[in-house]
Symmetry: none
Subunit: 235 residues, 2 copies
DNA sequence: GATCCGCTGTCGGCCTACTTTCAGGTTTTT
DNA sequence: AAAAACCTGAAAGTAGGCCGACAGCGGATC
């Protein structure tokens, strides 16, 4: 039974015929402490699934040989109920996927942001852990973020964040009290392939600060020449 | 499995078509007790990777034959999951983002400071070592440096250091109780090719002392005619 | 299918913190 | 006492970070 927060490593199988994408996901998952293996074709995926026994699968729908649906089909026929998160091209087969996601599975359109994928994977794992699954609430000082309701509060005050602000804040909170570079934030929160090396991160942080720091001590701190951290203001 | 802090030597492959750079990195790594080999082209890199089986790879993106991404791709297709740290040219701005997103683990722009490269390599090794990797905290007497949070404390007192001060102190602490010459510090902490043969090191040490030595015994000691050490003050 | 509106990202100017140079002072060595 | 090595204040020079203003996009509304 896959169960998030358990002692053993989560076992993830990533299936994508584009090795850089598969590797990207595997790398980030390992960083999270998971065991990740990749497969670059449908056949390979089925082989790997058999020997590796993953707790969760990331499956691209566009594969050269057997397509994603075929892989899923053969997985299910072999009796495994392993949850699957699909990857689809934009304007792809979103409708057909929607039908498949009833059983607790999920999907994401390419290109995606790796933190968003990881968030979905964690959610799916949590749900598949059984009934009465744990809420996920991140907390730093008096700032809380409920990942199920997407409610963010500073003390009692409810904040209204835009999607980007939410994602940046989530990443900062998850990694707190580690200092993150702007490049790390850009690479994790924005879609892969986002060209705009720019000051977007600064800008979003600036907007975030205005929303959450206007009362109390500054939570998001700048580490000049390096990056940002969110943490209880130092004494 | 690469694992930092293990008994066997870390095996590093350095790929750069500029031999002085590749050799520089290899030399510093050997000094750290690692096994390092160099390759000056993409083809050579792939050959070396096959026979040497590195635990980690430093890979320049600008190679004469196959480019860095091509090398990575062929490495991955041959089944190796070895972590890779990219080197990119300064203005290759678009490359910065592409670095991580193409399945590399980290990246650094040229010209870089060798200690910074080594620090990144150690981080990548540490996190690829498994789940819940441990914090890296350097300690000399009652001075501690947390490399994740970048917090430096003298006893309980939190110090606020500039980037250069932080890097110089880290190098001194890592090598403690070895005495280091000013030239060594300059060569390791500043970007290679830094012209300023000046008293910058003295300057930074002077400012560091003011910040960390104003209470308690002097930690950074001058070895006249030779250099500096950081260590518990002798009686 | 036109208009509106909120969100995201770009540009550029300002400001501040940091780095380095310079120069003169102090300590140590011979 | 002279020379060498080191220390450090002040100031110039530079880079990093912040954020106001605005444009483009896309989704929602009528």
């Amino acid at each position: 039974m896959p169960q998030y927060g358990r002692v053993e490593k989560v076992r993830l199988l990533v299936v994508d015929d584009d090795p850089p994408i598969a590797d990207l996901v595997a790398t980030v998952a390992r960083y999270e402490g998971w065991d990740a293996v990749t497969a670059y074709s449908g056949e390979e995926a089925l082989r790997r699934a058999g020997e590796f026994r993953p707790d969760i699968v990331v499956l691209d729908l566009m594969l050269p040989d057997v397509d994603g649906f075929g892989v899923l089909d053969r997985l299910r026929r072999s009796g495994t109920m392993v949850p699957v998160v699909f990857l689809t091209a934009r304007d792809g087969v979103a409708d057909r996927v929607a039908g498949l996601t009833r059983g607790g599975d999920d999907y994401l359109v390419k290109p995606f942001a790796v933190e968003e994928l990881m968030a979905r994977l964690r959610t799916v794992l949590r749900r598949s852990a059984g009934p009465g699954f744990q809420r996920s609430v991140l907390r730093v000082a008096d700032l809380t973020m409920d990942e199920d309701t997407r409610e963010v509060r500073r003390g009692e005050r409810l904040l209204s964040l835009t999607p980007t602000e939410y994602e940046v804040l989530r990443y900062l909170m998850r990694r707190s009290p580690t200092v993150l570079t702007k490049a790390q934030i850009l690479d994790h929160v924005w879609e892969y392939g986002f060209g705009g090396r720019s000051n977007v991160v600064e800008l979003v942080v600036s907007r975030l600060r205005r929303k959450l720091d206007d009362t109390g001590a500054p939570l998001i701190q700048t580490v000049r020449g390096f990056g940002y951290v969110i943490r209880q203001a130092a004494e």
